[in-house]
Amino acid sequence: MGTSGPEEVAVHADPDGDEPEEWRSVMIDLSAVPLPDLVEQDGSALVRAVRRVTGDAAPGEPIAGFNSAL
């Protein structure tokens, strides 16, 4: 599986100034990839993305308790 660009989350600085112009994620866009293709594939970008989504293996505490009544 090929990817382009840096693999870390990064801010791309505007060459003419300090303002960042783009935020880049470690997550790759797999939304157009059929699941069977993913199951068969390995690759560093894929492994990093898997680590990102399974890194919080402990169940995330649901955020509960908003009382919407006035």
Partner: protein, 455 residues
């Protein structure tokens, strides 16, 4: 197969932080969560050697239908559960699909009352709905959508792009319209049957913000992990920075929703939460736990709410909002902070020696657990906002703004939460837990003298 990392322009990222994401950004967040679901399913499939039934069904399904299943919030919730608990089968989906359209904007959600995985959203699910209950949900959703699509169009467009599932849950005896969200189920909201369309609208806006923030954090980590818990204006228990950010982001949408709403109760909510959101954002920005992306995000959030602080609110209502926020902070300190034995001994020694009070660093009390707001004065404030008298007693006097009338009863009853609101002594107002520790260790010392000494 070539895939690209997700990218977001800084302007779009700032709009997201301000709670005003555009359609392209929401599309990216949906694709991110789609990708996440696929990755989880990949891992679930790889858990076993034989082809599980759900995977065989996926192989036999048309691509569009397969994608619909993958992007359903319950699918990722189930897959995450399987990865923790071992191979398991997905449950059946609920039959009630509701579509409402107002001002040309459609919203389609499923009332998920069937899939057992719905219990993982943090609240106790209601049993499967009877036909009349489903009809009632449909009516409420239609009226809530009329309000949102008609008067809060940008927020409604965000909701329509994100919300896919409502899980009806049992009501909480101490809170009307309780709701919850899980990071593992993007686009799903757990809600007890709301009392009014307004409450439903507020609950949906609030919870959808959690989903959006979770998707953002998936792409761009906003907070460094493992930071210490601290004060959150929305919870009685200590919260990590990401929890505080969740509260600020969710209440940003609620504050905007109440900003233009009629009535004293809505004005109170606006006045209260604009202050809390601004304060929380400032604390996050100075707390040192945000990543660079988190700093950019929270700066945009803070910049969004700051101008609202200058908008006029009836002074009587603003006073009640300030009282509610001060009440929460004081009770939080009293519940979660204590003075350790060494500092208590230094306090006693200094008092006995007639010296200046020593520097005291209160410490977090471990194991408080999750807790929701439970102030005895809040129901009285709500009564006043709805035109009733607050009644008699010290709390009622506090709500009326009569601090002098409330003070003796609080002093007599050693009601530290009340004293923190009406005492003339700054120490009691700012650090009531320190005065409480000193008074407990020095029972013979007059309270006023102690409080004055510590101020």
């Amino acid at each position: 197969m070539t895939v690209q990392p997700f990218r977001l322009g800084d302007t779009a990222f700032a709009r997201l932080g301000a709670g005003r994401p555009d359609g392209d950004t929401l599309g990216a967040l949906r694709r991110a969560e789609h990708s996440r679901s696929l990755l989880l399913l990949r891992e679930v499939r790889r858990q076993v050697s034989d082809t599980p039934a759900w995977y065989a069904a996926q192989l036999a399904t048309a691509p569009e239908e397969a994608a619909r299943w993958v992007t359903d919030p319950m699918t990722a919730l189930w897959a995450a559960h399987c990865l923790r608990s071992g191979p398991c089968d997905p449950g059946p989906r609920g039959p009630h699909v509701l579509t409402v359209t107002r001002n040309g904007l459609p919203l389609t959600v499923r009332l998920e009352d069937t899939d057992p995985i719905r219990s993982r959203l943090g609240l106790t699910p209601a049993p499967p709905l009877a036909a009349d209950q489903a009809r009632r949900w449909h009516e409420l959703l239609d009226r809530a959508w009329e309000l949102l699509a008609g008067r809060h169009r940008p927020a409604a467009e965000v909701l329509a792009a994100v919300l896919r599932v409502i899980v009806p849950v049992l009501p909480d005896p101490v809170a009307e319209g309780i709701s919850a969200t899980s990071a593992e189920a993007f686009g799903a909201v757990a809600l007890s049957a709301p009392a009014t369309p307004d409450a439903l609208a507020a609950g949906l806006l609030h919870e959808t913000q959690h989903s959006i923030l979770n998707a953002t954090h998936l792409l761009f980590p906003l907070v460094e992990p493992d930071g210490p818990p601290g004060y959150s204006p929305w919870r009685d228990d200590p919260r990590p920075a990401f929890g505080v950010l969740h509260g600020a982001y969710a209440y940003l949408a609620v504050t905007r929703f109440r900003r233009s709403a009629p009535g004293a109760a809505a004005a109170f909510e606006f006045a209260r939460w604009r202050g809390a959101v601004a304060e929380a954002a400032e604390a996050l920005l100075t707390g040192g736990e945000l990543t660079p992306a988190g700093t950019r995000f929270v700066t945009a959030l803070r910049d969004e709410v700051t101008p609202w602080l200058d908008e006029p609110v009836d002074p009587a209502i603003q006073r009640l909002a300030d009282l509610a926020n001060a009440d929460h902070r004081a009770r939080w300190r009293l519940r979660n902070l204590a003075v350790d034995d060494a500092d208590t001994a230094r306090l006693v020694a200094a008092w006995d020696a007639g010296s200046e009070p020593p520097e005291i660093t209160p410490v977090l009390v471990p194991g408080g657990g999750r807790a929701l707001e439970n102030s005895p004065r809040l129901p009285l404030i709500r009564a006043v906002l709805h035109g009733s008298k607050p009644g008699d007693g010290a709390d009622a006097a506090t709500v009326r703004g009569d601090d002098r009338a409330a003070l003796p009863a609080y002093e007599k009853g050693r009601d530290w939460g009340g004293l923190a609101l009406v005492s003339p002594h700054p120490a009691l107002r700012r650090r009531p837990e320190v005065v409480r520790a000193a008074a407990t260790a020095l029972p013979q010392a007059p309270l006023n003298a102690l409080a004055a000494w510590l101020s």
